[in-house]
């Protein structure tokens, strides 16, 4: 399966397949401290290797953006590498590199995060640099002008020239009417066109402050040492008054929506989404967990229903997938997608996916299917500990979405308690035609590829033509 993602970073690590069950208490301990300026610091010891990952998570992302400024969070993320009061553009990265570190950043719908992974004794370097750019970003206009062009190129690369990503973008804009999840993380092209450096200065001032951030550290470190370092580097930063975001809820959908997306392509692509709920929004706390389990019944591996029945059984689909994310700030969708197999149409595939949904409404899932998913969850929780980065990312995202890192220790239990009846209940409640949106990629000719892929040789090597 391949459901297109929300720009560079996305919440996929929190999708069910990689969700992690609770580990033995002695290894899963997270130490928490909040500084006087409101910065929350979360530390988890992992002594397997002499490394540490340090991540700063800000509670801002594309779902915070007003109309006209879509993409500003991601653009600001790029500008965070372009100098501060004390650091020249690019110097942040050069210092991290010279210390053997890996670094990057990602923006999602609900967060913007920055990370460095490096030898554990270099942690103070990461802290000093991150503290500097938390409140003292330079945002020089000439750098902004160039970086805006870079982000436009990123948009062309990741969306404009990718027919399935383009379909996903149009699908979201169609499905959501009010929710900011209708906007792409990278921003609409017209909004990027009009973006000003002053907009970024305002956005930075509004959201980048210790009391709107979480610092997550996982690795070969002593929590007391990390807390004292955090106090030393981040403690002096002033807090900011953070305004609450308002609204964001879609009105109830009143019927199936359909959209066609025409783009140069060779294969059609089908995308279905049902408006659902999320943790913190559901009338019953178990509902999002039941939806997670439902998505795994369909697509929790090669033995799940979509692979078994649509790819292998009926040979209808070349690929088919399902996904749902209980861990989002605002309610999202349960998504189904697929590409028809040779000799089959996208309409046939749509009917087959709808029949799968109908079956979930009609009959309870088998206990054996649930047992298999529980075992996968337990194993995934163990596997996840092979990566300090993955552990930190989970802590940071749960905290930033507003659910709290403690959920990391509990959610496998929540998932494991879900019954066949509960899955049937959420299928009946949420997977209904009234809340469905369907997008179909209608391929447009790539004629020039077939006709003109001939070699135009300069050097005249004999083997050039094919």
């Amino acid at each position: 399966m391949r459901i297109p993602t929300f720009s560079v970073p996305l919440l996929l690590p929190l999708l069910l397949g990689t969700l992690s069950p609770p580990a033995p208490a002695n290894t899963s301990q997270v130490h928490e401290r909040t500084l006087g300026n409101g910065l929350k610091v979360l530390v988890k010891e992992d002594r397997r290797a002499p490394i540490v990952t340090s991540q700063v998570w800000y509670k801002v992302g594309s779902s915070y953006e007003p109309s006209g400024l879509t993409g500003i969070s991601h653009l600001l993320e790029h500008m965070m590498f372009k100098g501060t009061d004390k650091l020249a553009p690019g110097e942040f990265s050069r210092i991290i590199a010279a210390n053997g570190g890996d670094e990057n950043a990602f923006t999602g719908r609900d967060y913007t995060a920055y990370f460095q992974t490096l030898a554990a004794d270099r942690l103070p370097i990461a802290f000093e640099l991150e503290a500097e750019r938390m409140r003292s970003l330079a945002l020089p206009a000439p750098e902004f002008v160039k970086e805006l062009e870079v982000v436009k190129e990123e948009r062309r690369l990741s969306t404009e020239d990718d027919p399935e990503a383009l379909t996903f973008e149009q699908f979201n804009a169609m499905a959501y009417e009010v929710s900011p999840y209708r906007n792409p993380v990278i921003g609409w092209a017209s909004d990027l066109e009009g973006m000003q450096v002053t907009d970024l200065r305002d956005w930075y001032r509004q959201w980048y402050a210790p009391n709107n951030a979480t610092l997550v550290v996982v690795g070969d470190v002593d929590p007391a040492w990390v807390f004292s370092l955090a106090e030393q580097y981040f403690g002096p930063l002033p807090a900011e008054s953070i305004s609450l975001t308002r609204g964001g809820g879609d009105p109830p959908q009143r019927g199936t929506k359909r959209i066609q997306v025409k783009a140069p392509a060779k294969e059609p692509y089908l995308l279905l989404g049902y408006k659902t709920t999320a943790l913190g929004h559901a009338s019953q706390d178990w509902e999002p967990y039941a939806l997670e389990m439902l998505a795994s019944i369909l697509d929790g591996g090669s033995s799940a229903r979509l692979s078994r029945e649509l790819i292998r059984g009926s040979h209808l689909a070349a690929s088919a997938g399902a996904s749902y994310n209980a861990f989002s700030r605002l309610p999202g969708m349960l998504l189904l997608d697929g590409i028809p197999a040779l000799g089959h149409t996208v309409e046939e595939l749509e009917q087959a996916l709808l029949a799968q949904v109908q079956r979930l409404r009609d009959e309870p899932v088998a206990e054996a299917e649930l047992e298999r998913i529980r075992n996968q969850l337990i194993a995934a929780k163990v596997y996840e500990k092979d990566s300090v980065y993955a552990q930190a990312r989970q802590i940071g995202s749960l905290e930033t979405i507003g659910l709290g890192w403690e959920l990391m220790e509990q959610y496998v239990e929540h998932l494991s308690r879900i019954t066949p009846e509960q899955i049937q209940a959420v299928a009946r409640q949420y997977l209904v035609p009234e809340s469905l949106t369907i997008a179909i990629l209608v391929p447009q000719a790539l004629a020039s590829v077939d006709a003109t892929a001939s070699a135009n040789l300069r050097g005249g090597l004999a083997h050039a033509g094919h």
């Binding site: 397997r48 290797a49 490394i51 590498f81 690019g90 990265s93 050069r94 590199a97 010279a98 210390n99 053997g100 890996d102 490096l118 030898a119 160039k146 805006l148 062009e149 870079v150 190129e153 062309r156 690369l157 020239d161 140069p264 392509a265 060779k266 294969e267 591996g301 090669s302 033995s303 078994r308 790819i311 292998r312 070349a318 590409i339 040779l342 000799g343 047992e371 298999r372 075992n375 194993a379 163990v382 596997y383 500990k385 092979d386 990566s387 300090v388 790539l446 020039s448 590829v449 003109t452 892929a453 135009n456 040789l457 300069r458 050097g459 005249g460 090597l461 004999a462 083997h463 050039a464």
Partner: protein, 447 residues
């Protein structure tokens, strides 16, 4: 979608290549590698990692697309079919047996090798069921006609999707143009015509020829003891014939002159791929070329190409260069994507930066920074059982010395500005580059 045929992306190359770095002895001892030959002649490499109750296992064979001959796609389709029915079990049963115990299976065919990786819990019931399934997959694949037809049909859909992505299209063309008649020209995914001509018997013969015990390399990292590792390694090859060594691949001939292919494509960006045959895994110039390329285009945000193309001019989101070291000379490839009217300018900056680096070499400061980055970053790159298993498989497959990791840092530190410049001047020459440009037809003023 079976994506096992995809070309190595720059990221994957980076993982296989940059990550194969040594541990700085002052920070951490390198993982202690136990190695032996099992009773059937397979090479085994084992690192005990007792902290987590899990095992990462990677088995590789010289069964990549370089062995396709006149049947492109043969190696990939063979690999894709392994878990679609084996021994007494059909595809559903295999998937159920693995996933019921939380095991994860990955199979892929690259140019040199086919790799089967398994991640499982070491709890005995899980470990045993996962291994029992793996053994059948490796040694008794069915290649049943119905499964073959289904997987091949889906591979054709996958080829169509490749054709709608300008980057994939361009990279395939680059290999085709650069390698000509050499086996590395073959795209692992094959072509519609070559897939159509394949039969289950072709796959069965390819499997019998190349999935053989004496050519297998088995890498194990996890919470098992040496006796357990020995027993597992015996079991994995128990159903395989001993086999014969695969013949050596032909050397890659030098480009006499440059060549260029344009592919017209209705995209908003123009993609540029340019380069030439690079180096082998055991190349005498490996370290100067590796460290040099790290400076030129292999170190992300701080590379020279990133600075010239992106940071100074805002021309591209992604710009890179890399050596992909293979059994014979893999490519040196540089690339970028930019909006169409900037294509000629971006390409000129790309080539000029490579040319200047070739002529002048790095500065002392640039070289010292790169060495610090590579040696200081080593602990990150072996932090994780899966990563270590990948390195072990590469060491075993390419016959790298066992102290390769231990001595890597000292070899990186031995590189100088002069050895980098010397190696680049002998090995890299932009006037002989193979270039592929994908994008709409636009008058290129530089031509």
């Amino acid at each position: 979608m079976p994506d096992t045929n995809l070309l190595p992306s720059p990221l994957r190359v980076w993982l296989l290549f940059v990550c194969l770095l040594p541990l700085s002895p002052s920070l951490l001892a390198t993982p202690s590698i136990d190695t032996w030959e099992n009773s059937q002649g397979a090479k085994v490499l084992f690192v005990a990692a007792p902290d987590l109750p899990m095992l990462d296992l990677r088995v590789v064979f010289p069964a990549g697309s370089a062995r396709d001959g006149d049947r492109p796609g043969l190696a990939s389709l063979t690999a894709d079919l392994l878990d679609q029915g084996a021994g007494d079990w059909d595809a559903d049963t295999i998937a159920e047996r693995l996933e019921a115990v939380g095991a994860e299976l990955g199979i892929e065919a690259q140019r040199d090798m086919a790799a089967i990786s398994l991640r499982t819990l070491t709890r005995e019931s899980a470990l045993d069921q996962a291994l029992e399934t793996l053994v059948q997959i490796i040694s008794r694949p069915r290649f049943a006609p119905a499964d073959f037809n289904r997987v091949r049909a889906n591979a054709l859909v996958s080829l169509n999707r490749d054709d709608q992505d300008p980057a994939t299209l361009g990279q395939k063309a680059f290999y085709r143009l650069l390698y000509g008649d050499h086996p590395y020209a073959i795209d692992p995914a094959g072509t519609p015509a070559s897939l159509a001509a394949l039969t289950p018997e072709d796959l069965r013969a390819f499997h019998a020829r190349h999935y053989v015990a004496r050519q297998a390399v088995i890498a194990l990292v996890g919470a098992i003891t040496r006796p357990q590792a020995e027993a597992i390694a015996e079991r994995i090859t128990s159903g395989l014939g001993p086999g014969e060594p695969a013949p050596s691949l032909p050397p890659v001939p030098a480009n006499a002159s440059g060549n260029l292919e344009r592919i017209h494509f209705p995209s908003t960006q123009t993609h540029v791929f340019t380069g030439q045959a690079g180096m082998t895994r055991t190349d005498p110039d490996y370290f100067p070329l590796y460290v040099g390329n790290h400076i030129l285009g292999g170190s992300g945000l701080v590379s020279l190409l990133m600075d010239e193309v992106r940071e100074k001019r805002g021309l591209s989101y992604s710009v890179y260069s890399y050596f992909l070291p293979l059994a014979e000379r893999g490519p040196f490839l540089a690339g970028l994507a930019t909006k169409n009217d900037q294509g000629p300018q971006a390409r000129n900056v790309l080539i000029a930066t490579i040319q200047r680096f070739r002529d002048e070499g790095p500065s002392q400061e640039e070289m010292e920074a790169a060495v610090k980055n590579i040696t200081g970053g080593f602990p990150l790159r072996i932090a994780g059982n899966r990563k270590i298993a990948q390195y072990l498989a590469i060491i075993g497959f390419y016959g790298l010395p066992l102290d390769y990791l231990d001595r890597f840092n000292e070899r990186v530190r031995a590189v100088t500005v002069e050895t980098i410049r010397d190696a680049f001047q002998r090995r890299i020459d932009p006037s002989r580059f193979t270039t592929v440009i994908v994008g709409p037809a636009i008058i290129d003023q530089s031509q």
